[in-house]
Amino acid sequence: MREEILRMIEKNSKINLHDMAVMLGKDEKEIANEIQDMENEKIICGYHTMIDWDKTNSEKVVALIELKITPERGEGYDKIAKRISKFREVSSLYLMSGAFDIAVFIEGKTMKQVAAFVSEKIAPLDTVLSTSTHFVLKKYKDHGVTMVGEENHERMAVTP
């Protein structure tokens, strides 16, 4: 049941408990408890809103920073990853396989601001060997939601 609950609220965190109970064929209380448990276990980590900021007037730029790192003895990548992730400007951070080690997504108001953040706060860190900054130009799909040019297909009103 947990996975089905998660698939439901992953797409629509505003869905009400009553509808969920009906659609899953379970008791409202049972589902509420299950959700509460998953919140406590940090399986559910938050209820955010998908926003296409490009359609608003607010200035916002997103950049992907690739970092090459020297892992620390006894710590691997954990210590530096935790340290970088504490910056408010960092929205996501992943350890990667392949040509670089850590991918950091940074949100800022302007490119200049992001560039300054990278050169002042990230690049000088001891174990950071190099940084490579890529700015996001246009968001086509985010969290499974297509942001651009969604077409509407019409079915006929009545078919056998």
């Binding site: 659609m23 899953l24 297909h153 006929m156 009103a157 009545v158 078919t159």
Partner: protein, 385 residues
């Protein structure tokens, strides 16, 4: 000028769905719960494979029975799903939708005057296709008290010396009914005893909400007596691609292939390549769609209960078949007034046979928001009655 028309064709009644479709077309802002196809798009990887086949210039005929690679995938799929093995080379034909398979099977098996037993309510093409194949349709009105399943007694009462074929269609359109293994075994006993054949339309086999789909072909003694019709439309949300298939014993499939060869040549090549991808890599897509239909099904049944509309629990396909006899209107009157007064289109049960009188077919291949909106209107309508 002489009459240019065939009496046989002229005598066939036009589809009740068509009549209703024309009515709905006059009300462009109506909300419809009348559609018999998925609301999901075909999974992108399937569409992409179709596009790629065009880019590669795969625009020629295939073998009459379809690409051998596709037939092999169909064979593997059926082995896994219904535990019956069919030879890709001789026992599988890829058709233009399940509908073509129904037509082919009837034409391949019927001699003039042979009787075909058709339990109703059912899909709209069985009777016309039987008539066009010079067969004689014999209908069995299925009962709500049996959850619209066919019983042994009903079947026995309909069998005569001339009966040759039984058409079975489970999970059922329009009722959403499903037959259990025990139900089918009882039918099998009659079919074997009376030396009949079965055309089993299993197009909704992936959309079942209480366990595994059972095909009558998988029961002992039935493989040689059954043509199974299935396809990609409902399982993989591919209605517009028109991709289906018929499988059965070689003796019958040879003749089916012959008609298909002369009438159709082969199913569309682009769709065949896309269908291979669907069978190979889309099981998870099917599962997610099934989960979503099941949630909507439960939502809809709960809404019926709230407004006091009686409805037996459909366990397959994506239709509910509520009973409206308590409201004192015929199915036609109910559907017409609902359309005019609340602008909601549902299909009167009578479009699927006389025994659909007193019922409506309500499709839940719609989003929860659409279902909620439509059910609010239906609730308003019912309270006024």
């Amino acid at each position: 000028m002489r009459n240019p028309l065939s009496d046989k064709v002229v005598d066939i009644k036009p589809s009740g769905i068509r009549k209703f479709f024309d009515l709905v077309s006059e009300i462009p802002d109506a909300i419809s719960l009348g559609v018999g196809e998925p609301d999901f798009d075909t999974p992108w990887r399937v569409r992409e494979e179709g596009i790629y086949s065009l880019e590669k210039g795969r625009t020629f005929y295939t073998a009459n029975a379809g690409l051998i690679e596709l037939r092999t995938e169909i064979s593997k799929y059926l082995e896994k799903k219904i535990h019956v093995s069919y030879d890709p080379a001789k026992e599988i034909v890829v058709t233009v939708g399940g509908s073509e398979g129904i037509d082919l099977a009837l034409r391949a098996m019927l001699n003039p005057g042979d009787e075909v037993i058709i339990p109703q309510p059912c899909f709209v093409s069985y009777i016309p296709c039987t008539l066009m194949a010079d067969g004689v349709p014999v209908t069995i009105p299925l009962k709500e008290e049996n959850q619209f399943r066919l019983t042994k007694e009903e079947l026995l009462a309909a069998v005569t010396d001339k009966t040759k074929v039984l058409v079975l269609s489970y999970p059922n359109n329009p009722t959403g009914a499903v037959m259990t293994k025990e139900d089918l075994e009882a039918i099998r006993d009659v079919v074997v005893e009376k030396d009949l054949f079965v055309i089993s339309d299993e197009i909704y086999s992936e959309l079942i909400y209480n366990g595994e789909h059972i095909s009558i072909a998988s029961l002992e003694g039935m493989r040689e007596r059954t043509i199974v019709i299935n396809g990609f439309s409902k399982a993989f949300a591919m209605t517009g691609w028109r991709m289906g298939y018929a499988v059965g014993p070689r003796l019958i499939m040879e003749q089916i292939t012959k008609i298909h060869q002369f009438a159709i040549m082969c199913a569309p090549t682009t769709g065949q390549y896309a269908a291979i991808e669907a069978l190979k890599n889309c099981e998870e897509d099917v599962q997610l769609m099934r989960e979503s239909y099941n949630q909507r099904r439960k939502f809809l049944l709960n809404e019926f209960e709230k407004i006091g509309m009686k409805c037996f629990e459909p366990l397959g396909a994506f239709y509910a078949f509520p009973n409206i006899t308590a409201f004192g209107l015929t199915s036609d009157e109910f559907a017409n007034r609902l359309l005019k007064e609340e602008k909601v289109a549902v299909v009167p049960g009578t479009a699927f046979g006389d025994s659909g009188e007193g019922f409506l077919r309500v499709s839940y291949a719609y989003s929860i928001e659409e279902l909620r909106n439509a059910m609010e209107r239906i609730g308003r309508f019912v309270h006024r009655l």
